[in-house]
């Protein structure tokens, strides 16, 4: 439902009161480059890549923050805007780690600045900025920061303030030495940080990264969409698989699933258990020595069937109990109750979360 219409690149687009030019454009399928924008955050207009021409303003204006108004005309692509972007990207390049080809270094989660430079080009080569951003040691294994890849868009600090609302990290310092830091440069473990890792997820350039994940090329990963196995929120997540192992977990884009692009510390980082050495890898059977010993599947299934049937024979079906699991799938719970009722003949079946 729109309140009025605006014109974007010659296309009539419905917009509503309070809406920005950018969100109206996204809905109309018009692509405007951004680095600091996230639909979960208040607009910051920090990166300046989304500047467009709007009627009534002589200057270019940031689409992410400029409010749409009735009968407004917007131009997102013309020589003036392209020139602005090329000059802007030249300045970013002067303050960013570059590879041998002079492009922003690729990162495991991708680097949107690199993609933008490849697409838009740049105007000229500036003298590199000589004031390196500070960094700090952080003993936490999850959230790490690479100042050379940071463009100070503040998506991470704004996410920490506005979405996770713990304000553990902030912009620190002045001028070109500005960096991302914590109170008294403490480890995140010693701050209000809850290690949700949202800062990694929102970072457009890979400056915030996951300390324990291996370094890899982004395209080497197969992402498998699944549902988190911890609490009952049902967050959708992407298991990042490399060489048959889950090496990282990432969130689907905001606005696409029930978790709106968010994950918590467990959903994002607690995947080491999948490939842990302690996993049970063989059936076990208790033998006459009183100890559990590895055995074949056939022997384990036969022994389990015989043991449960013996109880049924001696004491009746209702002497058996079947405890199903709120951790397992719906189908598996269906099968446990079906087995309990149809194969063994008892309704003594309950899922583990019942007490």
């Amino acid at each position: 439902m729109s309140d009025f219409e605006i014109m974007i690149d010659g296309q009539t687009v419905g917009a509503s009161d309070g809406e920005t030019v950018l969100t109206a454009a996204i809905r109309a399928g018009v692509s405007i480059p951004t680095l600091c924008h996230d639909p979960r955050l208040d607009p910051a207009a920090a990166c300046r890549t989304c500047l467009v021409e709007v009627s009534g303003s002589g200057r270019l204006q940031p689409a992410c923050a400029w409010k749409a108004q009735a009968d407004m005309t917007v131009v997102t692509e013309n020589p003036r805007i392209k020139r602005h972007r090329a000059v802007l990207l030249s300045m970013y390049l002067a303050d960013h780690a570059l590879d041998d080809e002079g492009l922003p270094v690729e990162r495991p989660n991708g680097n949107q600045l690199r993609e933008m430079v490849i697409k838009e080009g740049h105007a000229f080569d500036l003298v590199p900025v000589a004031a390196p951003r500070g960094n700090r040691e952080d003993k936490n294994p999850y959230v790490q920061f690479n100042p050379d890849a940071c463009i100070l868009c503040a998506r991470c600090t704004r996410y920490c303030d506005e979405v996770e609302a713990v304000s553990a990290i902030s912009l620190a310092g002045r001028g070109s030495a500005t960096t991302i830091s914590t109170v008294a440069e403490r480890s995140l473990l010693d701050t209000s940080c809850e290690l949700c890792g949202g800062c990694i997820d929102v970072c457009p350039t890979g400056a915030m990264f996951e300390g324990k994940a291996p370094v890899h090329a982004p395209e080497a990963i197969e992402k498998v969409r699944s549902t988190c196995n911890f609490c009952g929120v049902g967050c959708q997540l992407d298991l990042n698989v490399l060489d048959g192992k889950v090496i990282k977990v990432t969130a689907p884009p905001p606005g696409t699933t029930v978790n709106d692009g968010n994950l918590c510390v467990k959903g994002r980082f607690a995947y080491d258990f999948v490939h842990h050495d302690d996993r049970l890898t063989t059936p076990l059977i208790r033998r006459d020595d009183g100890e559990l010993h590895p055995c074949s599947w056939d022997e384990a299934i036969s022994a389990a069937a015989a043991g449960l049937l013996a109880v049924k024979k001696n004491h009746g079906a209702d002497a058996l109990g079947f405890i199903s699991s709120a951790r397992c799938t719906v189908e598996e719970n269906y099968l446990v109750q079906k087995m309990s009722r149809a194969a063994f003949g008892t309704n003594n079946c309950h899922q583990c979360a019942a007490t």
Partner: protein, 534 residues
């Protein structure tokens, strides 16, 4: 009550709420992503009322924190109902159209004045009044609760009290306005939906209903028992008595069930135990046969979340060694005892069989979810879009009934010998028996040992320092814990997580169960704290 046990609203509706009443839920730690939606609602101007014995994170942004004494919820909630009725704030049109037996509640709460409630609950009468007024007079007001409400011997009474508030204010069947139990585990909702219950077949069809029995007998090709089974709490207490053989899938009952000592004695008393899990655990010490299973990343299927959303689990990697997906093991075991389980090619066929027998999920299939994303039940046919908000046209089963409820004290109260009231729960950094999370370096770095939160007054009286290891003793057992002095707990109350197998909090907890559900009283038991003694 008014029908199905599930969130009546959806998680994305939380951000548009005008008022959130959070009771018995430490949402930022137990459901962090739902908490993000709550934080967003508060940023957008929603009022937040929190009722919790501890000053949890949400109380920092709450308008009112009712720091209730553990186990006195019925007093608090009845007093809120008392205020609403006394001040005429109820939604009489909704009550007349959609409910019955309101008179029962009027009579039941007549004596529950806020002033008397203050004496019992420790919550100032004025806070109770303000909360009741705000809740009753705000249009889009939702209640959010979890195990702090249900893990009591009067858990069902607590839920009735909340339902009474919902019904008398008409806060049902509207966006962001309803009654929302947040499920603790990934698939609690789905396990219930699938009939892992002693009284229900899939889709909440009663085993005692001859029509349902006949339907499942025809589908499964065998005679079925018409007798309701034992619930989990009963089975745990009957081990070695009427229960002689047990099959346990995906739960460490020794670590997770209340009163560990009694569980261990019961396991010693049964003839046969089969266990199916992904890690060795405490229960394995008693197992005769152990099946190694696949974790969620190693199999296909669906989980159903708190807002009734059925979503796909997809296989990303192979199970380790000879481990196998649980559904394959279950089919083999059933066949080994002579039951002809169909040759399901994959879990989508199992789901299809269940859906064909389940009116609530009849329209849901793996193929549809893959195409459209998660689907929320009820979803009665393939063209049904799923249901975002329950009870849009009034309570599901005809009229919602009020239940007059009267306060009963918790099963165990503080005494001279055990002067402190212990509540247990989950932390952000670990998950239940923690077989998964304690195997992650960062989480274990953040929280590596058992702790007990204690008010500085109590710590001074007991002469124990912050960081000191103490013994915590109840009538059932004794464990160690490191003291965390904090004003976030009430004087006289202590709090402890249950994640640590070397210091199992459930050695202390009381296995007295709710009369209806059998849920154990994890939230209230009496303990004393002493200098550490091994």
């Amino acid at each position: 009550m008014f029908g199905a046990g599930a969130m009546t609203n959806s998680i994305p509706e939380i951000r548009d709420a005008e008022l959130l009443f959070v009771i018995g839920s430490n949402t930022t730690e137990a459901h962090p992503i739902i908490a993000m939606e709550m934080k967003r609602a508060v940023r957008n101007g929603a009022k937040l009322i929190v009722a919790d014995p501890r000053a949890i994170w949400l109380t920092e942004i709450a308008d009112i924190h009712m720091q209730i004494k553990p186990g006195t919820d019925v007093w608090l909630l009845n007093a809120m109902a008392h205020v609403i009725i006394a001040e005429g704030l109820q939604d009489q049109a909704f009550i007349d159209a959609h409910t019955e037996d309101f008179g029962e509640v009027i009579a039941a709460v007549a004596d529950y004045t806020p002033e008397k409630a203050e004496e019992i609950t420790g919550v100032p009468a004025e806070d109770i009044r303000q909360s009741a007024r705000l809740y009753a007079t705000t249009k889009h007001a939702g209640i959010y609760y979890t195990l702090g409400i249900t893990e009591h011997t009067h858990g069902t009474d607590n839920v009735y009290c909340l339902a009474n508030l919902v019904l008398m204010t008409g806060h049902l069947g509207r966006v962001s306005s309803g009654m929302n139990p947040l499920r603790g585990q990934n698939n609690v909702q789905g396990a219930n939906d699938a009939g892992a219950s002693p009284i229900f077949y899939p889709s909440y069809q009663r085993v005692s209903d001859p029509t349902a029995q006949a339907k499942f007998e025809a589908a499964w090709g065998v005679d079925l028992s018409p007798n309701e089974g034992q619930n989990l709490n009963q089975m745990m207490k009957e081990m070695g008595k009427s229960i002689r053989g047990l099959f346990v899938m995906g739960e460490d009952i020794v670590l997770s069930e209340p009163n560990t000592g009694a569980i261990e004695a019961g396991l010693n008393g049964i003839d046969f135990l089969v266990m199916q899990d992904i890690f060795p655990n405490e229960t394995m010490r008693y197992a005769d046969v152990v099946f190694p299973a696949g974790c969620f990343a190693e199999k296909e299927g669906v989980f159903t979340n708190s807002d009734r959303r059925v979503q796909l689990v997809r296989k990303a990697v192979d199970p380790p060694g000879q481990a196998r997906a649980d559904w394959r093991i279950l089919c083999d075991l059933a066949r080994a005892v002579g039951y002809p389980m169909p040759a399901y090619a994959d879990p989508s066929e199992i789901y299809a069989e269940m859906a064909s027998l389940s009116p609530k999920f009849a329209g849901i299939s793996h193929a549809r979810i893959a195409e459209e994303g998660g689907l929320q039940w009820p979803c009665s046919h393939v063209d049904h879009p799923g249901t975002v908000t329950l009870h849009g046209d009034g309570p599901i089963k005809g009229k919602g009934s009020f239940q007059g409820v009267f306060y009963r004290p918790s099963a165990e109260l503080a005494s001279p010998e055990y002067p402190l009231v212990l509540s247990t729960g989950r932390t952000l950094y670990h998950y239940n028996s923690a077989t998964q999370t304690r195997r992650d370096g960062g989480l274990d770095a953040k929280q590596s040992e058992n702790f007990i939160q204690m008010h500085p007054q109590d710590a001074r009286r007991l002469d124990v320092a912050n960081g000191e290891r103490v013994s915590v003793i109840s009538r059932r057992g004794q464990i160690g814990a490191v003291v965390e002095r904090t004003r976030s707990v009430r004087p006289g109350c202590v709090w402890m997580p249950f994640h640590f197998s070397e210091d199992m909090a459930n050695r202390l907890t009381n296995d007295a169960g709710d009369a209806v559900t059998g849920t154990g009283e994890y939230k209230v038991c009496a303990v004393r704290v002493e200098q550490f003694s091994g």
